[in-house]
Symmetry: C2
Subunit: 286 residues, 2 copies
């Protein structure tokens, strides 16, 4: 039995490792390095530039929490932009809403999509399948700059960390263009990093400050994501009009009868209740 | 620079590692092996039989969540029994309540206490200091069997995993004796393991079933604990009378003015909202 381990450094001195049965592929694209692995506990998982992106075992938490929270606040979402998310997991959850008319998915790297279609059909199942979904392989920042004002009801920023190709998605320029591309009822959900390790907390605060400066309503919600650093992960909820709690359409969402494994209506409210140290970080900075 | 790593296997094929500056001590007691280490990110931490117990960086989450939840439900708690908890972190939080008259701390292994007093004063600060706290170095199951009926208002089971010396604390016999030792207003908080990895979820269900069979009210709450397997950890809240949400004395707790880093009154309610898959595990089993 080959003793093969994938490891990610969560800090210089903290490491998370998964024993790998085999590496399914490894590819250097013009943008990044992509690796797919197969493991017992997590099933198939893939990394970008060595960092964990998606595992079969815990992707449901991330993809349900990025998607169902905004739809339970505004059930009339028709037009959706997904920035990043080439694995398809976010698109899969969005496609469950019959009311959605059009989805643009913009990922800079087509190879993420093609490799997920080959090795990770669990998340990629709607890509090239659902006629409402259009894929664009280009830079997310350029795409949202070129978008018509008010053309989306929801933007989901399903990005990598703010290094490499993902960096432009953590800028005021990007968030300002998102605001412009969203109608008055628009909601932006942003991959907000983690509050626990200093490096991630720093990125969380940078993103949160820029979003707070751009949107009148900017809140943060949390969930458990075992394969991400510290297991404590956040999304930002930003909007011009909707408050995620007071405008929560709990009964309407429940009436849809969507089966979920992580998200539920009690958890919707609960996810916005943050530990005191996270609240204080968001209010007062580092 | 010595390249020295502490690792814990969270499953056979998942490993969490911390780079160690130096090992502070290593001791085999009649009950278990205890190791203390010093690291950059987590500060001092200690392990029992190789498993992570307490780190300076994230112990606040565990010790605040085991303690403040029951006190915010019943502010009249006078007599407390802590089973395990030789590091002193739970006792430290309990001692913050002026209304508490007496605390028995029962840990089978005095060496845990003595080594924490030496290497981890952050958690051990009240041990041998607060006159209300009495320590007993004996078996928790035997202690609670011998306790007078109705002699405690709160029992906190701050145990290791259900292997080795901690095993007897996950039995129906133990929970039945806890119920007997608690008065009519009594609350039991139980270290409930994690829902994520199969092995831990199995132990969570075993504990929850036994507690549900013993107490009329038995609920589960969650928190983020980065150094424990999956970072997703649970406590069980059991009581003969109090519901943790409907009997929550939010304003009374807030009026105490206790400064906390993790627990707060919004999080109190929120912690009982569990992801759907955890709810379903607790309701229907594996």
């Amino acid at each position: 039995m080959t003793d093969l381990w994938y490891s990610e450094f969560h800090t210089d001195d903290v490491k998370f490792s998964i024993k790998v049965n085999r590496q399914l592929c490894s590819e250097q694209t013009p943008f990044q390095r992509i690796d797919f692995f197969e493991s017992d506990t997590f099933g198939v998982f893939f990394t970008i530039d060595g960092l964990m992106m998606v595992t079969q075992k815990d992707e449901f938490a991330y993809h349900e929490m990025i998607t169902h929270v905004p739809f339970a606040v505004n059930p009339d979402i028709r037009r959706v932009l997904i920035v990043g998310g080439g694995d398809g997991g976010t698109a899969r959850e969005v496609c469950r809403y019959q009311t959605v008319e059009h989805i643009d998915l913009v990922d800079i790297d087509e190879r993420v999509v093609r490799l997920c279609q080959k090795y990770l059909p669990q998340t990629a199942c709607v890509l090239d399948k659902d006629p409402r979904l259009q894929m664009h392989f280009e830079d997310g920042l350029a795409f949202v700059r070129a978008a018509q004002a008010g053309s989306y009801d929801l933007i989901l920023v399903d990005s990598t960390d703010p290094v490499g190709p993902g960096e432009g998605l953590f800028t005021t320029d990007f968030y300002t263009n998102c605001s412009r591309a969203l109608g008055g009822n628009g909601i932006l959900i942003n991959q907000h990093e983690s509050p626990f390790y200093t490096h991630y907390a720093h990125e969380m605060l940078r993103a949160h400050k820029k979003i707070s400066d751009t949107f009148p309503i900017a809140q943060v919600y949390q969930f458990h994501m075992p394969t991400y650093p510290s297991g404590h992960w956040l999304f930002g909820f930003a909007s011009k009009r909707f408050d995620p709690i007071t405008d929560f359409r709990c009964e309407e969402w429940a009436a849809l009868g969507l089966k979920t494994r992580y998200y539920n209506t009690a958890l919707h409210r609960a996810a916005f209740a943050l530990p005191t140290y996270v609240r204080e970080l968001l209010e007062h900075g580092e």
